[in-house]
């Protein structure tokens, strides 16, 4: 089926990655970060100096014993990074360059039984690539979802080309899809209705394929779930990143854990926006990004609308498809509220730039940075959020219910149908500069902890 998404916004940021060859990048160090996972309470399983292989458990979840978070490479545990109150921030592994994996059983996907799939996924750490909605957590081992949802395209700002990223791993991807479909009983794959009718994604077996057209956030799995089969209270679904599907397929086909990803390195200040092939958890430095404006930039794992900021000497986050680099916006803007301004991007038409962008067809190039462009105020303007949310919810009312912490109202207004990223555009456009995604996450965590 084809769905047309009319509510939303495509933000055109210059600096998309060029589709040449994806060059291989090797990093000396790799890290697995508990902070990438919602609600994870880690129990460390290794010590500094331990030898590990790809697939060796580094820590497990105290609340879900048995779910292992594993090393992406072979080598030695180099450092255990702790933060405030000794919270575990990262386990850093120094690669020995050999890339040896623990041996895992290969399975015949069509005939093996579901419990074997489940056990292998848990033991190999592949289980941690699954996300459960509501709450965005790694699902408990005995989780029985309604279905699995996979989004096969990216239309967020600075989009990464998923067809290009999956090149060479088509068989892994197809195997992963079949496997997850068997494991969960039902798998929905959503593709770009304009570009992907004949892509490698469209030729998968065992998946229910739906096409999406229109504006961002069409590519967000939350939008797709809402259109295809919205989540009801008490139900859970899984979502999996498309490259993670290939990693899962690879292990079951070859018995080797190899968390390979092709990620786009992009952004308006990147000298050569391009694709690189690397392993999960590599360092930002290994990307050797050259910026045109020096060091005052921010590295973002994921979309600029919902991703995670990473230090220059930090590590990639889990399930990351792109690293966006933006100039920091820490400058004062003289009479910023008064001047007409042609270079600043605004969804509202209060700036000549935003007005012209909406009435003229040739889209001018705007300057994008991390500036907040104003002071924080109570939620004031109405009607903005509704234009940007394709879900059947009242975003303003939901955010207010989250702020006051009324759980019953949140449930009624559809909190289970959203993850923070689904309201990312609202946060972007909000006149009051509220941190909406943080509010949604806190609300979800409050509910999760109470239930």
């Amino acid at each position: 089926m084809t769905y047309k998404i009319t509510k939303g916004l495509d933000i055109d940021i210059p600096g998309s990655a060029e589709k040449r060859i994806a060059e291989d990048v090797e990093s000396k160090f790799y890290a697995v970060k508990p902070t990438d996972y919602v609600g994870l309470v880690p129990r460390l399983l290794v010590a500094e100096g331990d030898n590990v292989k790809a697939g060796t458990p580094l820590f497990e979840d105290k609340q879900n014993p048995g779910i292992h978070y594993v090393s992406p490479v072979s080598g030695t545990v180099h450092a255990i990074v702790r933060g405030e109150k000794r919270a575990l921030l990262a386990v850093v592994v120094k690669s020995d360059g050999k890339q040896e994996s623990l041996p895992f059983p290969t399975l015949d996907i069509d005939s093996c039984d579901i419990d074997t799939i489940r056990q292998t996924m848990v033991a190999s750490g592949l289980w941690t690539l699954l996300r459960q909605r509501p709450f965005g957590i790694v699902p408990p081992v005995d989780s029985k979802p309604k279905a699995v949802f996979v989004s096969g395209f990216d239309d967020s700002p600075l989009p990464a080309d998923t067809d290009f990223a999956i090149q060479g791993r088509e068989d892994d991807f197809h195997a992963g899809i079949s496997l997850l479909a068997r494991l969960a009983g039902k798998l929905y794959l959503s593709l770009d209705g304009k570009k992907q009718r004949n892509s490698v994604f469209a030729s998968v077996k065992d998946a229910d394929i739906h096409f999406f057209e229109g504006k961002h956030p069409a590519s967000l799995v939350g939008t797709q779930i809402a259109k295809i089969a919205p989540i009801n209270k008490g139900e859970t679904v899984w979502t999996v990143n498309f490259q993670d599907v290939a990693i899962i397929g690879h292990l079951f086909r070859t018995g080797i854990y190899k968390p390979e990803r092709v990620i786009a390195v992009c952004g308006p200040v990147v000298k050569e926006p391009r694709y690189v092939r690397l392993l999960s958890g590599a360092t930002i430095r290994s990307l050797s990004v050259e910026s045109t404006i020096g060091n005052n930039v921010r590295f973002i794992c994921g979309s600029v609308l919902s991703g995670t900021a990473v230090d220059t000497d930090g590590f990639l986050c889990t399930s990351c498809d792109k690293v966006c680099v933006l100039p920091e916006g820490d400058y004062y803007d003289f009479l910023g509220w008064l001047r007409p301004n042609f270079k600043k991007y605004s969804f509202s038409r209060t700036f000549l730039s935003g007005f012209l962008a909406q009435v003229s067809s040739s889209s001018p190039k705007f300057d994008f940075d991390t500036g907040k462009h104003g002071s924080v105020r109570p939620l004031f303007v109405t009607g903005e959020f509704e234009k940007l949310t394709p879900l059947d919810i009242y975003p303003m009312q939901l955010v207010k219910a989250c702020i006051v912490g009324d759980i019953e109202l949140m449930e009624n207004l559809g909190i289970y149908e959203v993850e923070p990223e689904d309201l990312a555009l609202c946060e972007f456009a909000d006149t009051s500069k509220t941190e909406i995604q943080a509010i949604i996450r806190n609300a979800l965590e409050t509910i999760r902890k109470q239930s």
Binding site: A309, D330, S375, F428, A429
Partner: protein, 389 residues
């Protein structure tokens, strides 16, 4: 840049531990007035997760757009004040003399409104250790624009203080109020000092240093109320060369502002359109009944008289006090238009129905939204139940 250096030099004194720590909100207000702050998304938090880019719009930009939209009505109003004086007292002033006289009449009203209102705003911000909200920049001007030109300034000052404190600050300040503060001020004046707010003698200012008897000038609504024939034609009322509140007589000037608000998307077209529809339908209904002369008045006259146009464009659309859902906005606007005309025609005590209609619907806006949202909730619960069965 030297202005930036100036603020940077003063900043330590007004920050925590500085000499003027108690005035930090005041300093912040002036600083952010001059410069959009240099804050970044995530506030420099490590591993911040959220939107890293932000829209260029902020509340200051929104409010200043409203102020710009008010300008045509304000400038016309200034001229019209002088023009009415000139006509009533047969002075045969020229255009600029009329404008200058109106300007001198209007200036103290604006100054009093701003000074009283902003002082209270700053005071509350300092007490609460919050940033000063820019909301009153719009409200303060609107209050000055909807009072009679002869308003005693002390009454205006009390009304503004009442509106800001009771209409807004007690609920938490801009963004939390449920009544439009400008209309609270006007309603306060209307009910506290009725003799200065209605009748025929308050709408035309006497020339400065004039000692004789005041000349009266009746508004169209006043004439209708007293069952007198209208002295102004529809065209006069449309252009606005009639006695009335300082800056709400000219429908043309208000329409110019409306165009700006609609093009920039600041005001809701749903509300504006539904107010017009509501008022029109109610007017047509009265035309159909036609029991008295007021009822027989062509329906579109209601758009041209009194504060209908100004209220529709600038006050019904206040996002804080209006309905917040899109379907709610239709109901809210429609009822404002309908009630305004209903009150005008049927209630002999209040010549102007718009103010009361908007305040009434301000009170009902949350209820309207509640009902709209309840439908969404019901739909969702039905979906849950279907799954369980």
């Amino acid at each position: 840049m030297f202005i930036r250096d100036f603020f940077d030099k003063l900043k330590p004194d007004f920050s925590k531990g500085g000499r003027f720590e108690k005035l930090s909100s005041t300093f912040e207000a002036f600083e952010s007035f001059a410069f959009t702050p240099n804050t970044v998304t995530g506030g420099g938090k490590r591993a911040f997760k959220g939107s890293h880019i932000r829209d260029a719009v902020d509340l200051k930009r929104t409010i200043i757009t409203v102020v710009v939209a008010l300008m045509p009505a304000l400038l016309f109003g200034m001229w019209n004040i002088g023009h009415q004086t000139s006509m009533a007292y047969s002075l045969e002033w020229g255009f600029w003399q009329e404008f200058w006289n109106g300007f001198l009449r209007m200036l103290p009203i604006i100054v009093v409104s701003y000074v009283v209102g902003l002082t209270i705003e700053f005071l509350f911000a300092e007490i609460r250790h919050e940033e000063v909200s820019e909301g009153f920049i719009g409200t303060g001007l609107i209050i000055a624009m909807i009072v009679p030109v002869t308003i005693p300034l002390w009454q205006l000052a009390i009304a503004v203080a009442f509106a800001v404190v009771i209409g807004k600050e007690v609920f938490g300040g801009s963004g939390y109020n449920f009544l439009n503060p400008a209309l609270v001020a006007r309603a306060f004046l209307f009910f506290s000092y009725p003799s200065h707010m209605s009748g025929d003698s308050v709408w035309v200012a006497a020339p400065f240093r004039y000692a004789g008897d005041a000349v009266t000038g009746a508004t169209p609504l006043g004439q209708l109320m007293a069952s007198q024939p209208l002295s102004a034609s529809a065209l006069d009322m449309f252009i606005g060369t009639i006695p009335g509140s300082t800056c709400e007589t000219s429908v043309v000037a208000i329409l110019l502002g409306a165009i700006l608000l609609l093009v920039t998307g600041i005001a809701s077209w749903r509300i504006m359109l539904s107010v017009v529809i509501g008022g029109g339908l109610m007017g047509l209904l009265f035309n159909a009944i036609g029991a008295n002369e007021y009822m027989q008045l062509p329906f579109y006259y209601h758009y041209l008289m009194g504060g209908f146009a100004f209220g529709c464009v600038f006050m019904a659309t206040d996002p804080v006090t209006a309905a917040q859902t899109n379907s709610g906005k239709w109901i809210y606007g429609f009822l404002i238009g309908a009630f305004a005309v209903l009150l005008r025609v049927l209630n002999p005590a209040y010549p102007e129905g718009m103010m009361l209609a908007i305040l009434l619907m301000n009170c009902f806006a949350p209820l309207i939204d509640h009902c709209v949202v309840a439908r969404n909730i019901k739909k969702r619960q039905k979906r849950w139940e279907r799954r369980i069965m």
